[in-house]
């Protein structure tokens, strides 16, 4: 019967539920409209227009995501798949859609100042951002490996360009190229994984795969396992798990800061969405096979991320490693492999989005060379930004009364509940290590440079690109037992790092002269985004239940 239908060259196009793919559509259409307008108006298109338009698109897409959320979590509604099983709308995907929409709004609103400062044409930037977001959204709601792969590629290819969009800087180009080559490599690996999974299950549809795995006993599951392993590698690359993380520090550092902010938030959201859906939900029956892999990945990611963050001198690089460490935490929820673990991961993603976008927005607004040394005494020159950054960094370190704390708490307690004590322990230890590098930046920001340090550092030329070596000579000792009788005020292990130049003198002068340092105005968009991020982080850190409820309600449907 089917065959005869095929014979007559009429194709029965499946029913398309547009509201089910609303957010993706909004993003793509928004991008196309902006592109068209820009093409018609030419270069007279005001940057402000594209900024506002991007934010508007983000808001509409957020509303569309909320509609899906209420559809699937309402009393009489359930998760459903749409467009002939290509996408699935469940609580989980709705949350991912919301996250990506929020990221677009935030980065869109905050990037204007940076873009005009760096003379980046914004229509292309905004267009690519929206398209990339649509890819992440597809990953979040994909119910088919092909759709997921396309989502991944849409997201990634746009990110490659965004990484390289600051044409005046060599670092930007290098970031783009590194991201691109490694991304292409990992995409091929991921795709091979899809191929092997397809071959061993006969389907690319996630529901189909899950059903096949549930109903069939595979005696020789080697190919299936290989496919799963390769797909894990692909996801691990996208979310930056050690040892597939190597691109992240360089790309985060080299990319224009709004692009970094966007990729840190969106690539993680999209990547983890796919990761959790495929590994936990679809391949849940293979848990015994993938759990050790995830366990090991989580452990080394946690440890390496924290340790590497400590030795960084570039704030963006440090944040990159810290985001690697965060990925490890998110993965802890998957190690737990329970509903509460997934909820914990989702909550972590939620909290992480605000923390990371806020942090990078501030870093972008501060500008400069991103050398940590430039952050010394920042609280006196840029009190608003420094305070915001301080709060967000402390939140990232997991300090109580912030969402960062609850995020760590949720995943660790899920791991404990699942009797994964070892990983819970390692996660806590790495959180302790992490506290140091976050606190270090905070301490830098609140301590003005002393005269001695200024005079020490003046005239000391230091090539930052290679200057980041660390050799803990006497300082190691000083840190732990420096209080002993033998300490004699060895000046080398104070908080001072020789600075790149005597630039910070100005900071001091400001302080000494008037106590009212020069205030550099913060752009409206940046101010708004920073306030929102900090507000969210603190408010829902104090009042945790709404977001926790949200994450708990957001169930994954295979």
């Amino acid at each position: 019967m089917t065959l005869s239908l095929l014979g007559t060259s009429t194709i029965a196009v499946p029913h398309i539920d547009y509201s089910a793919i609303g957010p993706e559509l909004v993003m793509i259409v928004g991008a196309l409209v902006l592109l068209t307008v820009a093409a018609l108006v030419g270069k007279n298109l005001a940057r402000r227009f594209s900024t506002l338009f991007t934010v508007l698109v983000g808001v509409v897409s957020l509303l569309a995501s909320l509609k899906i959320w209420f559809n699937v979590t309402g009393a009489h509604h359930v998760a459903f798949s749409a467009v002939d099983g290509a996408v699935v709308d469940d609580g989980f995907s709705a949350v991912i859609l919301m996250l990506v929409s929020i990221a677009v709004i935030f980065v869109g609103a905050s990037s204007e100042g940076y873009l005009s400062g760096q003379s980046i044409r914004s229509p292309e930037f905004s267009v690519l951002m929206m398209l990339s977001a649509s890819g992440a959204m597809l990953m979040g709601s994909a119910n088919d490996l092909i759709v997921m792969f396309l989502g991944l590629e849409i997201m990634s290819i746009a990110l490659y360009v965004l990484a390289g969009s600051d044409l005046r800087k060599n670092k930007s180009g290098e970031a783009a190229l590194k991201y691109f080559i490694l991304g292409g490599f990992s995409s091929a690996i991921f795709l091979y994984g899809i191929a092997l999974v397809y071959g061993s299950t006969g389907s690319t549809n996630l529901a189909g795969i899950a059903q096949f795995l549930a109903t069939t006993l595979i005696i020789h599951q080697g190919v299936l396992l290989a496919g799963l392993g390769l797909m894990i590698v692909g996801f691990a690359f996208k979310v930056g798990l050690v040892p597939f993380h190597t691109w992240a520090p360089d790309v985060y550092q080299g990319s224009p800061t709004p692009a970094t902010s966007f990729m840190a938030a969106v690539a993680k959201a999209g990547g983890f969405a796919g990761f959790l859906r495929v590994v936990f939900s679809t391949m849940g029956t293979l848990k015994l096979d993938w759990e050790p892999i995830i366990w090991v990945l989580a452990v080394i990611t946690l440890v390496v991320g924290s340790i590497m963050a400590i030795v960084q001198r570039d704030i963006k690089r440090m944040l990159a490693y810290s985001s690697i460490s965060h990925a490890g935490f998110i993965l802890v929820g998957l190690v737990a492999a329970t509903a509460s673990g997934i909820a914990g991961s989702l909550y972590y993603l939620f909290a992480y989005l605000f923390m990371v976008v806020g942090s990078f927005t501030i870093v972008g607004a501060i500008g400069g060379s991103d050398d940590l040394e430039d952050y010394r005494g920042l609280i006196y020159t840029r009190p608003f930004l420094a305070t915001g950054l301080g709060v967000l960094l402390l939140a990232q370190s997991g300090i109580p009364f912030t969402t960062g704390f609850w995020a760590k708490f949720e995943v660790v307690s899920a791991a404990v509940d699942a009797h994964s004590y070892a990983i819970a322990l390692i996660a806590m230890v790495s959180a302790v290590i992490g506290a140091f590098f976050y606190l270090r930046v905070v301490v830098f920001m609140v301590t003005a440079k002393t005269k001695a340090q200024v005079s020490d550092s003046v005239g000391e030329e230091q090539d930052v690109s290679v200057g980041a070596q660390l050799v803990p000579s006497s300082g190691v000792e000083g840190g732990l037992v420096g209080g002993g009788p033998e300490y004699g005020g060895d000046p080398t292990y104070s908080l001072a790092v020789p600075s790149e130049s005597g630039r910070s003198d100005e900071v001091d002068t400001d302080l000494d002269d008037s106590g009212v340092p020069e205030r550099i105005p913060v752009g409206f968009g940046v101010g708004l985004v920073v306030s929102l991020c900090v507000g969210f982080t603190v408010l829902f850190g104090l009042w945790a239940s709404p977001i926790v409820d949200l994450a708990t309600k957001a169930k994954l449907v295979p």
């Binding site: 092909i146 792969f149 396309l150 590629e153 290819i157 490659y160 360009v161 390289g164 044409l167 060599n170 670092k171 180009g173 290098e174 970031a175 783009a176 190229l177 590194k178 691109f180 080559i181 292409g184 490599f185 995409s187 091929a188 690996i189 795709l191 091979y192 899809i194 191929a195 092997l196 397809y198 071959g199 006969g202 389907s203 690319t204 520090p249 360089d250 550092q253 080299g254 030795v311 960084q312 690089r317 690109s465 980041a468």
Partner: protein, 101 residues
């Protein structure tokens, strides 16, 4: 009777490996990039073979999408290479390591 599918898949796996090795050992960005194409072709071959084995058209449809993806990747990738090459000499990947650590 035709060759069994396993042979095709073995060829594909080896092709994938050659592509991966090429990407790891070559220093020219362009060649690395071609190696990615080799890997994608290996995947395509795998898909088509599975499509035959399973008698399922999906495998062939995927190849279609992979072609689109590859094309888009090539355009963007070559764009990046060109834009980098314009501002510095040499396209070996090793020339790009100002960021590290």
């Amino acid at each position: 009777m035709t060759i069994t599918a396993s042979w095709y898949l073995v060829v594909a796996a080896i092709l994938f490996g050659i592509g991966a090795i090429g990407l790891l050992i070559r220093r020219s960005v362009l060649v690395m990039f071609m190696c990615v194409e080799l890997m994608l072709n290996a995947v395509n071959l795998t898909f088509v073979t599975f499509s035959r084995t399973l008698n399922d058209i999906a495998g062939q449809v995927v190849v279609f999408f992979v072609l689109v993806v590859a094309a888009a990747e090539v355009v963007v990738g070559l764009g990046i290479i060109v834009s980098i090459y314009r501002s510095r000499r040499g396209t070996t990947a090793d020339d790009l390591h100002i960021m590290h650590g």
